[in-house]
Amino acid sequence: MIDHYDWRGGREAMLRFGPTNGPIVVIAMPLFEEANRTRAFVVTLCRALAAREVASALPDLPGQGESVLPTDDARLDDWRAAFAAAAGNIGRHVHGVALRSGAAIDGEARLESRWRLSPLPGAAALSELRRAASTGGTAIPVQPGADCPPLLLAGNRIAPPLFNALTDDGAVAVPDGPLRTVRLVSDPQPADRKVDAAPLWRRAEPGNDPALAALLADDIAAWIARCGG
C-alpha cells in the first residue's frame, strides 16, 4: 500500500508491505543510480519479508523518487532527518535495513537494530557518478562553491551543498546499537556474513534475484528475532 510520512520539510510517500502487527523494518534504499537498479529487487525483498511475517516500509527521500521537492533542493542532512522521521512515524520498535549507500542516511533514526547490505559512505556513492560524468567527458569541480549552479552527474542534478556533504561523508557511520553487516563473497571488506551473489546495483541493465531476496529475507528475519523482534 502507498502510505506517507511527515518530516520537518513536508510530506513524502512511503510504500508499506506485510502484516499490520509484528516486527517492522524501515528500508534505506541506495542513493542515485543504484536506487533504480535495485528497486525491483527491493520490492521482491519486501514481499519475501512479508511472507516471513515481517512488515516493511520503503520511504521516498525528499527530492528523490516520487517526491515533489525539486531534485536540486535535496540535501544530505534532510535525507537523514526525513528517514529518521519516517522510522518514527511507523512505530516504536522499528528495525533498520540499509542497502549500499542507504547506510549514509540511517544514522539519525531511532532503530532497534541495523542490518546493512554492502554498505558504503556517501563519498563512494558520489565518486561513481563523478567517474561516469568524467568518463563521458564532463569536467567536475572538486569542491563546487555555494554559488555554483547544480551539477549534472550521470543524469542527477546535484546542488553544491549536497555534493560537498557527500564528499565529506568519507566513512560508513557506526551508530550505537546492534549492527549486522552482510556483504557479497566478492567483497573483501569484513562482514558478519558473506553471500555468494552478483552485485545487482552495478548491472547496467536493472535485474532481479529472487533467490538472493529469499536468502536475505531469512537472514533479516532471524536477525530481528535475535534483536527482540
Binding site: E128, R131, D187, P188, A198, P199, R203
Partner: protein
C-alpha cells in the same frame, strides 16, 4: 585479507566484467589477454566503465584516479588486469 597475487587479480577482473556487464559465464571465461574491451564490447559504455572501475576499487582495495583512466588501460582484458595488478597493495 586483500587479493594480492596476479591470478587472484585476474579472477577478480574477470568476475567484475561478468557482473557489471551481465556477461554469461561462457563469455566471461572466454576473455583472454588480447580480448578487446573498450570500443569493441558494446556493453562497455561510460556508465559501465565507471561501474567496472569502482567495483575493481572495492574488490581489490585500490584507488583509481580519474586521470589514470584512458583508452590504453581499457583496451584489452590483459591491459586491465596489468593495470589492476600494478595498483594492488603488496
Amino acid at each position: 585479507m586483500l587479493p594480492d597475487d596476479n591470478s587472484t587479480i585476474e579472477t577478480t577482473v574477470r568476475a567484475v566484467l561478468r557482473d557489471v556487464l551481465g556477461l554469461s559465464e561462457a563469455r566471461a571465461a572466454a576473455l583472454r589477454d588480447d580480448t578487446l574491451l573498450f570500443g569493441a564490447m558494446p556493453e562497455l559504455d561510460s556508465m559501465a566503465v565507471a561501474g567496472v572501475l569502482t567495483e575493481l576499487e572495492e574488490r581489490l582495495g585500490i584507488l583509481i584516479e580519474d586521470d589514470e583512466v584512458d583508452g590504453e588501460m581499457l583496451e584489452t582484458f590483459g591491459a586491465l588486469v596489468r593495470f589492476a595488478a600494478a595498483k594492488a597493495p603488496r
